[in-house]
Structures are given as structure tokens and as C-alpha cells.
């Protein structure tokens, strides 16, 4: 394996991009990712916050204390991962992280790994999805993605500009990849439209350093509130209004998540309404 320190965006072609490395390095070690070429992109990805634009190379640790950042995102960063991981991990990388589904991490031949079943559906799924879980029951672990989704974030890549929700897709038999980036395409910047108020609430089983059981972000623009959830579907989940949880399709051992989500959604909506 070779490591290239990129000085221009073209050098990424054909290799795996590495920024903070908090996801790429463990996945390489487990053989879930394989490559002959790693490309360190820290030199070419924008870093820092300028107005409503956030460089994809900005670390979560930088964002959690940045007063320019909307409340929901700041709180999502603050409650994400551990201090060291926040110091290392970039916001762009955070959006691209993989599920914590134990079957996937332990390389069970599941749908996402190209196999023919979802082991979690019939097996141990108490931390899994309550929406869109018929093909793959994994839960998307990014707090930050839920916050950005609620905030209506636009993503600028090396090739295009898109809404954050279009960065993700639900896996199908034909296409099992959860993100829509083309090979070599990199996230450069995130553009956050102004909001009047926002909040992120997170249920976890430790007070710190835990992935979301349920994360709820809400952002209000005038009388309109957008709600997005982490940890409830294979991708970050935009909730169709306060009653959107009625459409949940929990598995036997994830029904509790619906109850938790209801409470947090109620609180989040109340909170942004009052701000």
C-alpha cells in the first residue's frame, strides 16, 4: 500500500481518500475497505467556517465551539463520538461514515456486503432501524448528518452541488451503496441556509461517547420546521412532520425507539418554536 499526500484534487483518482482516518483506518484493517493507494486529502479540502459555508475538512472539535455554527450542528458535534475522535474527524468524513450494525462491522455476508439477507432483521437488532428497514435494518449513526439535514444543507462536491438528502440513498438489490458520490468525487463544502432556530437532542446509553440510539434535529425557518433523525434508518432520515413517526415500521426489538423518538421530536419542536 502507498500513501500519497495530495496537493491537487486530481491525485485522488483511483485511491481511497483519507482525512481524519477515524473510519477509513479501522475499515482498512478489517479488510472491509481495500486499496493499494491511500490519498491524504487534508491539503486539498477546505477547512474552517466562513459565514454560512463550512469547509468539509473542518473537525467536529472545531465546530462544537464555533459560535457561527447553528445550534443544532454545534450540539450534534458536541455530543458526537469522543473528544479524540472529534479532534481527528472531519465533518465531510462524518457524513460518509458507515453503519455501526454489528453484522456489517463483523463482515457477515449481509445485503450491504453484497450478500442475500439482512442478518439483523431476524437476529439481534435492538439498536437498528425503525424506518425503511425491510431490505437493510442498519441505522445511520451520524448525529451531524441529522443536524445538517434539518438545517437544509447544500453540499458542494468536486463535481456538483446537491441537497444533503441527495447524498444518501436507501440500498436496493441493484445499488447497495448508501452514498451517491461518484468514484473520486469529494465533498468540499457545506452551505447552510439561514434558520431562525435549531436544536439537536440525542438519546444514548452513556452520557458521552455513544452513537445515537435516536438523534433528533429540528430547524425552524419562520413557521416551517424541518425535522431530521439519526439512528432510525439506514440513511439520515428526514421526518415528514411531527406525525411522521406514525409511519415507522419498527422491528420487534426496535419499537422502543419510536417511543423515544416521539418524545424527542415533541421536545425539539417545542424548543425551536420557543427560540
Amino acid at each position: 500500500m502507498e500513501l500519497v499526500r495530495a496537493t491537487s484534487l486530481e491525485q485522488v483518482d483511483g485511491g481511497i481518500a483519507i482525512h481524519g482516518g477515524t473510519e477509513v483506518v479501522p475499515l482498512l484493517r478489517d479488510g472491509i475497505l481495500q486499496t493499494e493507494k491511500l490519498v491524504d486529502i487534508r491539503g486539498v479540502i477546505p477547512r474552517g467556517v466562513a459565514g454560512n459555508r463550512i469547509g468539509a475538512g473542518t473537525t467536529l472539535a472545531e465546530l462544537e465551539v464555533d459560535p457561527q455554527v447553528p445550534d443544532a450542528l454545534r450540539e450534534a458535534c458536541r455530543l458526537a463520538a469522543s473528544p479524540q475522535l472529534r479532534n481527528m474527524g472531519s465533518i465531510g468524513g462524518n457524513l460518509l461514515q458507515s453503519t455501526r450494525c454489528w453484522y456489517w462491522r463483523l463482515k457477515y455476508p449481509c445485503h450491504l456486503h453484497g450478500g442475500d439477507r439482512c442478518h439483523a432483521r431476524e437476529g439481534e437488532h435492538r439498536e437498528h432501524a425503525i424506518f425503511a428497514n425491510d431490505y437493510c435494518a442498519s441505522a445511520h449513526p451520524s448525529d451531524v448528518a441529522a443536524a445538517l439535514l434539518a438545517l437544509g444543507t447544500r453540499v458542494h462536491t468536486t463535481q456538483r452541488e446537491l441537497a444533503l438528502e441527495d447524498l444518501y440513498r436507501l440500498p436496493t438489490v441493484e445499488e447497495r451503496e448508501l452514498v451517491t458520490l461518484a468514484p473520486g468525487e469529494l465533498i468540499l463544502e457545506l452551505e447552510l441556509p439561514p434558520v431562525d432556530a435549531s436544536v439537536y437532542l440525542k438519546a444514548m446509553d452513556r452520557k458521552r461517547w455513544a452513537f445515537p440510539q435516536v438523534g433528533v434535529a429540528a430547524a425552524r425557518v419562520g413557521g416551517e420546521t424541518r425535522i431530521a433523525l439519526a439512528g432510525v434508518a439506514p440513511v439520515p432520515w428526514l421526518l415528514d412532520g411531527v406525525d411522521g413517526l406514525d409511519a415507522a415500521t419498527p422491528l420487534p426489538r426496535t419499537a422502543w425507539k419510536v417511543e423515544v423518538a416521539r418524545a424527542l421530536v415533541r421536545r425539539a419542536v417545542t424548543s425551536v418554536a420557543a427560540k
Partner: protein, 146 residues
């Protein structure tokens, strides 16, 4: 295999190692800095914490070849007042996580010399201690200046 050039605790080191080797492994096995511990080797426990340019990171999931900044390990913090504070507060049981705790704590007090309890708990939450010395660690950090 390729060369790695590192600055560790203010001194320059070079090693010859395969790309993909973690900073933790290189520090421990090639350079002899065994104060940095490996307990999970996948970025979950904090035992391997070192500072790069003063910022705590997990050396077990940092690629040695990808380090550009200056590294500080526990060996570079042996005279830090936190050591005495940890000893006095009885913040050391089995001690396997302790070097990582001290490295994290040193960065915390450098940025925030008088951290509140909430700040300590927020910034130290990535260092797992199975013996449960946490109340003592909290006390040690509060009293680090003696």
C-alpha cells in the same frame, strides 16, 4: 515499506515501516515509547492517546506515515504537574489507561487551566478506565496546579 520521519517529544526520529502501520505500533515497537498503551486498537478506548501539535488523538488509528505535526507522548509529559496530581488523588489503579488519561488531561489544562467539572467530563470522556478511577481523575485535574 517506506521511511517515516517523526518529531516525538521535541526530538527527530526516523523509521522504516510498512504503510498502514499505526502510529501507536510504531511508537511502541520501533521507537520504544511503550508508555503509550494499546488496549482496543480500534479507536474506542483512548489508552493510546498522544498529542499531535497539542491536540489529543488516537494513535492506534492514526497511520504513522500520515503524521505531519509534532507528537507528544506520555514520555514527554513525565514532569508535568498532572503526574503528581494523579498520584496524590489516587487516580491510578491498574494504571493501563493512565498514560492516555494524562495525555488527554494535559491538553485540557493547557487550553483551560481551571476546567469546570462539566468541561472535565466532556473532554475526558474518550478515555475509558475499567477500574473506575474517574472521580479521582476529576479531582486530580481540578487540583493539578497543587
Amino acid at each position: 515499506m517506506s521511511d517515516v520521519l517523526l518529531t516525538v517529544n521535541g526530538q527527530s526520529y526516523s523509521a522504516y515501516a510498512p504503510v498502514g502501520m499505526s502510529l501507536a505500533q510504531l511508537l511502541r515497537e520501533e521507537l520504544g515509547f511503550t508508555g503509550t498503551k494499546i488496549a482496543c486498537n480500534e479507536g474506542h478506548c483512548g489508552a493510546c492517546t498522544v498529542q499531535i501539535d497539542g491536540v489529543p488523538v488516537l494513535s492506534c488509528i492514526t497511520l504513522a506515515h500520515n503524521v505531519t505535526g509534532e507528537i507528544t507522548t506520555i514520555e514527554g509529559l513525565r514532569d508535568h504537574p498532572l503526574i503528581e496530581a494523579f498520584v496524590e488523588a489516587d487516580a491510578v489503579q491498574c494504571g493501563f489507561c493512565t498514560p492516555g488519561q494524562v495525555v488527554s488531561a494535559a491538553a485540557l489544562v493547557a487550553a483551560t487551566p481551571d476546567p469546570t467539572v462539566d468541561q472535565i467530563r466532556h473532554q475526558m470522556a474518550g478515555n475509558i478506565c475499567r477500574c473506575g478511577t474517574y472521580p479521582r481523575i476529576e479531582e486530580a485535574i481540578q487540583k493539578w496546579r497543587g
